[in-house]
Symmetry: C2
Subunit: 793 residues, 2 copies
């Protein structure tokens, strides 16, 4: 992995701090300083306006615009329209004017700039001293948060301190629907040469007005016809008597603050945003519903709202926090990752999910991918199981769209969308959207993991089984039988490794399909015994046919899983072992990133892989495989992997730790936890890799602590790599909370809450209770490299 950190921000255990401003990094900083609360998100852009390079981005999860997908030729199954999360109202809009100068950090003189994201309490603050051409010095401080408690609530506080003068400052505050959505054009037709992003605003504002001290504006997207109402109230210390102002897509207040040298003046802005899911709603109804919400916050003060928000985070951190000693950068990176992941999604609403980039930018169109089920569900499952459940219900809500999609692809059952906002497919590139069938087994894998770990039969026997039946049915119709070997398989797919297209029998997909068939049939059997009514209801609901379960059993039994029986190496797909090789170690800047530097069709004809594929199913079903097999596959695939997915290195490092390979665990941890903080991929400016942040959690729990699960049992193999002196985390296990703390003395497990928990520790079954259990660390067996052997496949 040839990726290099680009560190700029200060390392603190509970904060991310920018001291002194670097305009060249502003877009990147805006991403890093993003705030969100699942319902909405806003980039860390400057409240007061900025004429330099920036992206004023403010998004509501699920609120989308539509665009045409252009193809040189359209074939059956191709989508011709896609949705994207559309940039919406700049609700932090503020302008400051002192004498004849407007504050703009691109042109104004200023000192002592500091921007600070407080991870513990979820606030962003920024301060600096503005020095006007006339020599006046004004200390300006902005603070903001989006409430984790009340999803519609966003709060801003502006604090002004005249340092060397007394006198008036003009302030405008408002709601602005006019910022452009940038990637709209660049994204559907990205010039190979890499054209600059062009912007387009998708909003019209049919209504704006005031009720009492609340100013509000109603926006509607051009094509999808979705509504959003934004409203705000100002509260200032002094006798601030602002005048209303408005423009086509703007409503605001404009007034003068009389500053007194040496004392601070603050203006608070309480914003209530609401978007309407019913596209057929009338403007008046949307207006009323939004204003009703605004009235609920009519007495809310900034401090009060902040208190509730802080309390939420304090409680959340009690469970979420991972403490690490010995490496401050890792500590910061871990908290940064957990913070962003959890503020993006905490399970408040089953209609929402974890977009790949959260609500921090416009790349990937605000869409949800299979990352959710494969990388994020484990995190939520062990930290906030109700949130994990809601992630699964999200897919269940999208079953109707998935059934339609299966039909479009000439199949039966249900096929979840590879990239989606509302359940319909939004991946216009058919090579991914149509071929990456593994998104479907990501869902069934997560159902299995969740239901087995929690024992939540309420979910499993209602929504879970319905999805399992439809997914099994899909693959039964999607697969085929080899006339040569009589095996069942899935021909013509793209696996998780996106550097091989339209391959046959991608081993990862086939293995997960096999497990899906088996689990479906097993749950069916259990339901017949334990919940016959629920079973009858489920079977009726999907119109199960008599022969289907038996067919699935046969398909599972006869599933093709190509493997070299001698070495134990699974073949990633039919013919993979035969592919001409590339020496990944010798690829340089003229090659990387591959998608940009290699002709498209060249990528797919070599053995180089983009991200783990075989290793991924070995991790998911670790208990199905011997250490020998894991080792052989790691040694074979690791050197062939170029890690051009942010989801890639973390998986390798988990195995590296298990196999006692090198002392690079901390290096990997740093990479995984600081992927965006240190901008390893040089694209943080476009938004954060939010789903990849689960990799930080995975690399402590699955990595350092060697945790594995077969759903029912928990296995641990704790290690303490060079470079760390200790770490501590908590897990939710069937109503209990289990804490693991590891340092040089050993590994200590205890329950913080709930009944004792059974675990397997270094291969021995142990019972953990509140008193705790301490063992000395066992080093990973220093396994011998068997690369030479592995090369023989």
């Amino acid at each position: 992995m040839a990726k290099v950190a680009d560190r700029y921000l200060k390392v603190e255990p509970w904060a991310v701090v920018e001291r002194g401003f670097d305009p060249k990094r502003e877009r990147k900083s805006e991403s890093l300083f993003s705030l969100a609360n699942e319902y909405m998100g806003v980039r860390g852009y400057f409240d007061e306006g900025y004429s330099g390079d920036r992206l004023v981005g403010s998004y509501f999860q699920g609120l989308s615009e539509e665009m045409d997908v252009r193809h040189p030729q359209v074939f059956k199954g191709f989508i011709e329209q896609m949705a994207f999360s559309v940039n919406s109202v700049d609700w932090l809009y503020t302008r400051l004017r002192l004498d004849d100068e407007t504050l703009d950090l691109a042109t104004s003189r200023f000192r002592r700039f500091e921007r600070r994201l407080d991870l513990r309490e979820g606030t962003l603050s920024r301060s600096f001293v503005w020095e006007t051409r006339g020599g006046k010095k004004l200390r300006v401080t902005f603070e903001r948060f989006v409430s984790m408690v009340r999803p519609n609530l966003g709060c801003q506080r502006v604090r002004l301190e005249a340092l060397n003068f007394s006198g008036p400052v003009a302030l405008v505050s408002g709601l602005d629907f006019s910022p452009p959505h940038e990637i709209a054009s660049g994204w559907t037709q990205t010039k190979a040469s890499g054209s600059a992003a062009e912007g387009k605003n998708f909003w019209t504002c049919p209504k704006r007005g005031r009720e009492g001290d609340v100013s509000a504006i109603l926006g509607r997207t051009e094509r999808s016809g979705q509504w959003a109402l934004a409203s705000f109230r100002l509260r200032a210390d002094a006798g601030f008597a602002p005048r209303p102002m408005a423009a086509e897509k703007f409503i605001g207040l404009e007034g003068t603050l009389d500053l007194v040298q040496g004392s601070a003046t603050t203006v608070e802005k309480i914003v209530v945003n609401r978007w309407e899911r019913d596209r057929r709603a009338e403007a008046e109804a949307v207006w009323s519903a939004g204003m009703a919400l605004a009235r609920e916050e009519k007495d809310t003060t900034y401090e009060e709202a902040l208190e509730a928000h802080r309390a939420f985070w304090a409680k959340a951190w009690e469970q979420l926090d991972i403490e690490v000693t010995g490496d401050a950068a890792v500590q910061q990176g871990l908290r940064f990752s957990l913070f962003h992941l959890y503020q993006t999604y905490h399970g408040g609403d089953a209609r929402l999910n974890i977009p790949a980039k959260g609500m921090t930018g416009e790349a990937y169109g605000g869409c949800v991918f299979w990352d959710t089920e494969t990388y994020c569900v484990p995190f939520y499952l062990f930290e906030d199981p109700k949130a994990a459940r809601n992630l699964l219900l999200y897919r269940h809500l999208q079953l109707p769209q998935a059934r339609r999609r299966a039909k479009e692809l000439d199949c039966r059952g249900a096929r979840f969308s590879f990239s989606t906002i509302d359940g319909t497919e939004s991946c216009g590139t058919w090579q991914h959207g149509d071929l990456e069938d593994h998104v479907n087994v990501a869902v069934s894998y997560a159902i299995w993991l969740y239901a087995t770990h929690t024992g939540d039969t309420t979910f499993l026997w209602r929504e879970g089984i319905e999805m399992l039946l439809e997914i099994s049915r899909y693959f039964a119709s999607r697969g085929g039988w080899s006339p040569l070997t009589g095996e069942f398989g899935i021909w013509g797919v793209m696996g998780p490794d996106e550097y091989h297209m339209m391959v046959h029998n991608n081993c990862y997909t086939n293995y997960l399909v096999k497990k899906t068939f088996e689990f479906t049939v097993r749950v069916m059997g259990e339901m017949k015994r334990r919940a016959p009514k629920a079973w009858a209801r489920a079977a009726r609901k999907v119109g199960l046919e008599a022969g289907e379960p038996n067919a699935w059993r046969r398909m599972a039994r006869r599933m093709r899983l190509p493997q070299n029986k001698k070495t134990g190496v699974f073949e990633q797909h039919d013919g993979y072992f035969d592919l001409p090789e590339v020496d990944v170690g010798r690829l340089g800047p003229s090659d990387i990133p591959i998608y940009k530097n290699w002709a498209y069709i060249r990528i797919f004809r070599h053995s180089m892989i983009k991200q783990p594929d075989v290793l991924l199913f070995l991790l998911f079903y670790r208990q199905d495989f011997s250490r020998r097999v894991v080792e052989a596959n790691y040694d074979f695939y690791e050197p062939r992997c170029i890690h051009e997915s942010s989801l890639s290195p973390g998986i390798h490092s988990i195995f590296a730790t298990e196999l006692g390979r090198t002392g690079e665990a901390v290096k990997f941890l740093r990479y995984v936890s600081r992927l965006d903080l240190d901008d390893y991929n040089r694209n943080t400016s476009q938004g954060l890799h939010v789903t990849a942040m689960s990799g930080a959690w995975l690399n402590v729990t699955y990595g350092l602590a060697g945790m594995r699960t077969d759903g029912e049992r928990l296995f641990f193999q704790p290690t303490l790599p060079k470079g760390l002196t200790g770490y501590r985390f908590r897990l939710a296990v069937r109503g209990s909370v289990l804490e693991a703390a590891v340092d040089a003395e050993g590994a200590r497990f205890r329950t913080v809450r709930g009944r004792p928990v059974a675990i397997t520790l270094y291969g021995r079954s142990r019972q953990v209770n509140a008193k705790g259990l301490t063992v000395r660390l066992k080093p990973s067996r220093p396994a011998k490299r068997r690369a030479a052997q592995a090369r023989r496949r």
Copy 2:
């Protein structure tokens, strides 16, 4: 093959006749009645205007407009702009007005409609009696041809006979640049649902005017900036004194003809069209060059021009004609096919070629494909070798573009475009344009075939070797080495069978690449001995490196050609034998055409093939394979082929005849020769399958007469299928003309011109001279079907 004839036109040996007009078939008839002369082509639309459904199509080969290619995502190597042959000037524009009625066969009353394409002399005529609402009867006759002798010349004659009145008729005649190009939008973004074609006109006309009796108009394409100048002169019998008229994109003459009952009045229009290859030329220069050409025709009369045109065809038919007795439909179909093929291309200009649809419509954008080399070169080679040579020079002229294209695809050497007008790639669908590398070996195959058959070392040692070196170099960089077997191969291609995408080691491609390497090295060896200076020049020109030829030798030797050694069946590509099967015989109207009715990604995961792939290289290099191998492959692949290419059935029927399979040769001949005449594919309305018309010729020479060649020797195995009583054709063989005539009495070979010719007849070497040689027919060995064995692969 479930295709059914839709016969409508009359069967005559030397003509295609429509008696009575069917407006529903007008677009189809316009295609069938197209005329062309390589330089330009015009559909058989109504000269006088027609408000019904029609396509007023007039094209110049090579004159193209450009458009953007839209992709959901652009990757390296994708083209972002493509050229298409743009609809241009309607030079037949005529309008007739009698009393207050304008002639329009969509609304006027008429009788005795007849449209006739005279294949022998290359003219189109149409006549009918127009009955006005006032009861006047006027016989109207249109005739036209485009001169095979003077490429810029188009001629029209209008003949009017007042049957029951005397009096004036108003006539407008002109040149109209305003007809829309129809497929412009529908073609880049074909809605899966099949939207109606929309039109767009791409011309501006910066200049129009008159010099003497010549009216002219200059057109320029909007984006590509290509120029065309059209001019015309009228000549009428009576005292016709027309007035000039003009519009934005139109120039014309308008006048009155005083008709006398019982006698005919004619108006002749002599049109001179010229388009300018130099895009940077100034308007004035283009105007002058066009007018100079027009002046060359200033005394030309219709009859005189027709005489020269007729003489050309009379001479051409002497060589081209295939006489068949016993089936009038086949006879007509053969001549129809030969006529269209030869009027589309007769080798007049090496910058021109044979667009897949000729100049008969807008489908395929007027582009040239690999059809030229694989299907058409043999026809020209044996009927008009100079034309075959020019087809190869066409590719040589495009070497600079092919070198650029290879670079874009991260390769060395040259990669000819899959679909092109001027050498640059115009196939926007990367799955075809980028993956169908076999276009490159089609060129080297044709070079081998031409050079070996003719012995033309002048070409081979200059242009031929340069192309061979660059094609070999391309594949050396494009291919790879299997780490499993140490074989060389070409991974990640699409072969001729377009129902399997991004396959590895397509056997057809690999076989032809192997032959290309071998032939290149062989020619190199010969040149070193016999033409060392030419060799030095060629090697210098391409910058040949020391190790290259040896590398090619090794690659040829180690080329992967997967084959079941037991059955002899070649595997179409790696893993093909393993693909789930589809019973092609059971596919019905809900499946066919597959591209429309099957989800795109479903097509590629079954063993069903679109068109011959393995069988094609067995035909090209028939002498390399035993009859047993041919038979095994035919029996294996024939039942798996769905024939969704117009190039497909003809290849199968050639083998069916060789293998003595069934008595279906005449049925196939009828299909192949009448593909468009009987609209088997129901898309003749979009233009004729011109390159597929070579299949008619192939099915007589290679099919009935069992001709094969290894380049140097000619083999014959004549048959006379049930349903025919005889056939006769002529072949050009190294300066001689060989005639074969077959009937129930036997097969008679003689030379019509030149030295005696050596052939192998039924396996015996024979010498043929002017006196001739007659043998009795040997029936094809009635081979046993070995389907059961073949199924075992």
